[in-house]
Amino acid sequence: MSETTLAAVPRAGRRRLRLSGPTAGAAIALGVLVGANALLTPNFASAGNLWNVLLQVSTVLLVAVGMTLVISTGGVDLSVGSVMAIAGAVAATTLDRGIPVAIAAGLGAAAVVGLLNGVLIARFRIQPIVVTLATLIGGRGIAQVLSNDGELVPIDNPSFEFLGKGHLGPFPTQVVVAIVAVALGAFLLRATPFGRYVLAAGGNPAAARLAGVPVWRTIITVYVLSALLAGMAGLVEAAKLGASDAAKIGLNVELDAIAAVVVGGTALAGGRATVFGTVIGALIMQVIATSFNMLLVPYAWSLALKAGIILFAVYLQRPRRV
């Protein structure tokens, strides 16, 4: 009977599996993917290609770190792609006043959208999916209005483009930016009261409120942070392109970010989060995309396979029956 087979499983083994939690499934999946690709995909294991994977993943990762915080409060932020476009457009159109002004303006515009999301969700109690769907639609429109009805705004400023094309020592700038964001996200969640409040507000808002947790402020802050990180991703993307393309920048990035978060083991229902898992999730998605590209798998097929892998990774972390 199943009971007896279960009893036969060594206890310590089960415990270890549990301790590493749902992220373990994702880590295993990533290991298998990388291993298989190293063997089967020509040139996959080359240094150049691995840098390429990191370069490609960095903007999604920036967004996904913010998304991890948002999802662990039990919410979701669909507006991140539009926020990227807004930040890019604002920076591109203000660049003639200097780089600091452009960056500040871009991030500031992003923060405003995040604040709007947060206030509508926390104070007016509108569902996060509805609020951010509205800002997803509206934000893309505003980004295009800002850049003269969706025209490409060229960026002719090598110093600004450093953000997307330059290197700090051996590291591409955007990779460094992403790593800083990951470290910051993990630090916030682990070491600060704010991180604890995020998980408490997501896990049981009524209990959190009674324990004196500033639930509103926490939720608003989370959406502002998500928007700021998306704004940063927008600046990087614009710098990489050498232009602000309000119609295209950040298109569908919310889906990749959500997939990365979920595959990594953060609970969609809130209350549980792992930034480390999100990194693994984002890497899984990127490795799939890159290797399919190298193997010349048709794009349509790669989407179907990607979907299958998402479902499988999430299946691995389904709640176990006790």
Partner: protein, 538 residues
């Protein structure tokens, strides 16, 4: 303790479990436990918090799967994979933590999963009519169309029980059924149990209130640390002996350690710590006055809906008062949110542990320190060392049973969760501690410890406001009692005047006295074992 012949053990058991073992990631929750149920008996399951009672009944009803042991239903081997399987076999549970669909109606919850149909669609009329009939039969005054979430916890619990009854249960498991019931509802529950018993239903009854056990149960099974201590008839078993078995202590130890519970309020003559005047909010609070002095434990009594919890929430700022004034330490305060309350030095332990207490996915340590986080933070970073020291101190002091402070709180037994929540407030070092049903679900040993702890805190100068539906607790544990009725304070009983009778009289007021008093008697009929009940099982 050995099985005995006085109760119908000769009957073939309806359900039998043998050598049941269950482990949770390294912790052995049950270790070779035997258990049997004969038709028509009410079987008490007792043990300390974390002894494994809930785990045993969850295995019995298909919520958990066992790691070892066997189970038979009507002589045939059985193992339920899901609660639905168990229900199909007539084994139904009403769990400690109520599981409900808050947005759905009473009728929908009662018939969930087996809605009456006509032409393939739900027959709403029949569902509502059947529910209304069921409620009337059970003596419950409930609208089948009311959304369950709008009802009080007590009523939600009655709905859960009604659902069990309507499933035609042959075994009905009640895991701490009275923990959120008021006296009157307890009486209804007793009547219900007797009726089911007469129909041959076997009932498993888990409770930490001994009065209840003696009032309704025939046999008792004692668990300690996941092991079976024994099963025997309750009639003729002395209360003290039962407690000894539960705690694994000898009679002498128990009597020696029983310091009793008598807070002699130093009640200093100077200005009261808390002075609330004419608190109002909507229709539930219509002018409540309370005073608490340093070192005093003030009991707050009243029937369900009398405004006890509302008073506490208004003082704390969770549901701010709309009128009236609050003075703490002589300073006027106006708490508009729990934040304000905490900042002023007030702590509030809510009565609803699941909905308003625990953060299920966070660890014991994180839950324990949630309210005290600002004091553990330096340069914006939570100090791990300070946190750990605090957590360890309170885990030891309250005897919290967990595999470590890293364990998720949702994995703790109900009583241990309650202790963590109490610790959450104690470590904020409050001036005024408001506790709403503080010992709900806490075992008799720990209950004494917690009461002693509250005494000690009061003696140290804290003021305590204690809401309780347990009259015994109010009488034993308070320096004074304020009685509320319909949102107003109607009586204040000084130290010498506090008796169960005087509280009941004041709670009900006028004509209702008799009704309530009669409802309370079964519970307060102290050590008298219920002889007639034992015969029904034969």
């Amino acid at each position: 303790m050995s099985a005995d012949a006085s109760v119908a053990t000769t009957d073939a058991p309806f359900l039998r479990m043998e050598g049941i073992t269950k482990r949770f990631s390294g912790v052995t929750a049950l270790d070779g436990v035997d258990f049997a149920l004969v038709p028509g008996e009410v079987h008490a399951l007792v043990g300390e918090n974390g002894a494994g009672k809930s785990t045993l009944v969850k295995i019995m009803t298909g919520a958990y799967r066992r790691d070892g042991g066997e189970m038979w239903v009507e002589g045939r081997p059985a193992g339920f994979a899901t609660p639905a399987d168990a229900q199909a076999a007539g084994v139904v549970a009403v769990h400690q933590e109520i599981h409900i669909l808050g947005f759905r109606t009473v009728a929908e919850n009662v018939f969930l999963g087996r809605e009456p149909r006509r032409w393939g669609v739900i027959d709403w009329r029949r569902m509502n009519d059947d529910t209304a009939r069921l409620m009337a039969e059970l003596g419950l005054d409930l609208d089948p169309r009311a959304a369950l979430g709008t009802l009080s916890t007590a009523r939600q619990q009655m709905v859960a029980i009604a659902r069990g009854v309507s499933l035609g249960a042959k075994v009905l498991v009640l895991d701490e059924p009275t923990s959120s019931l008021a006296e009157r509802e307890v009486a209804i529950l007793y009547a219900l149990i007797r009726r089911l018993q007469a129909q041959g239903t076997a009932i498993v009854y888990i409770s930490h209130r001994f009065d209840e056990l003696y009032a309704v149960c025939d046999r008792v099974t004692v668990l300690r640390d996941g092991k079976l201590v024994g099963t025997r008839a309750l009639a003729g078993l002395e209360r003290l002996d039962l407690v000894c078995q539960m705690l694994g202590k000898s009679r002498e130890e128990m009597q020696a350690g029983d310091a009793g519970f008598a807070p002699d309020a130093p009640a200093s003559a100077d200005e009261p710590l808390l002075h609330a005047d004419g608190l109002r909010r909507g229709t539930r609070l219509r002018g409540v006055n309370v005073e608490v002095r340093r070192g005093e434990i003030v009991g707050l009594a009243g029937l369900l809906g009398s405004g006890r919890t509302e008073t506490a929430r208004a003082l704390f700022g969770a549901d701010p008062a709309e009128g009236g004034s609050i003075r703490l330490k002589g300073k006027a305060i106006e708490p508009r949110s729990p934040d304000d309350g905490i900042a002023a030095g007030i702590a509030f332990l809510s009565e609803d542990r699941k909905a308003e207490g625990i953060i299920p996915e966070l660890s014991v340590g994180e839950n324990l320190t949630l309210a005290a986080l600002p004091t553990l933070t330096r340069f914006g970073i939570v100090s791990r060392a300070k946190q750990q020291a605090l957590v360890e101190r309170y885990m030891t002091r309250l005897g919290i049973k967990a595999s470590s402070s890293q364990q998720k709180i949702r994995e703790l037994s109900g009583g241990n969760q309650q202790k963590v929540l109490l610790a959450r407030w104690l470590c904020t070092d409050p001036e005024l501690l408001i506790v709403d049903e503080p010992t709900r679900g806490i075992d008799i040993g720990a209950r004494g410890e917690i009461q002693a702890l509250v005494n000690e805190l009061a003696a140290g100068g804290m003021g305590v406001l204690m809401i309780s539906s347990d009259l015994e607790e109010l009488v034993e544990g308070s320096s004074r009692v304020v009685v509320l009725r319909d949102g107003e304070d109607v009586a204040r009983l000084a130290r010498g005047e506090v008796t169960q009778d005087s509280i009941i009289r004041a709670m009900a007021g006028g004509s209702a006295t008799a009704a309530v008093a009669s409802a309370v008697t079964p519970a307060s009929a102290s050590d008298e074992p219920s002889a007639p009940a034992a015969e029904v099982g034969a």
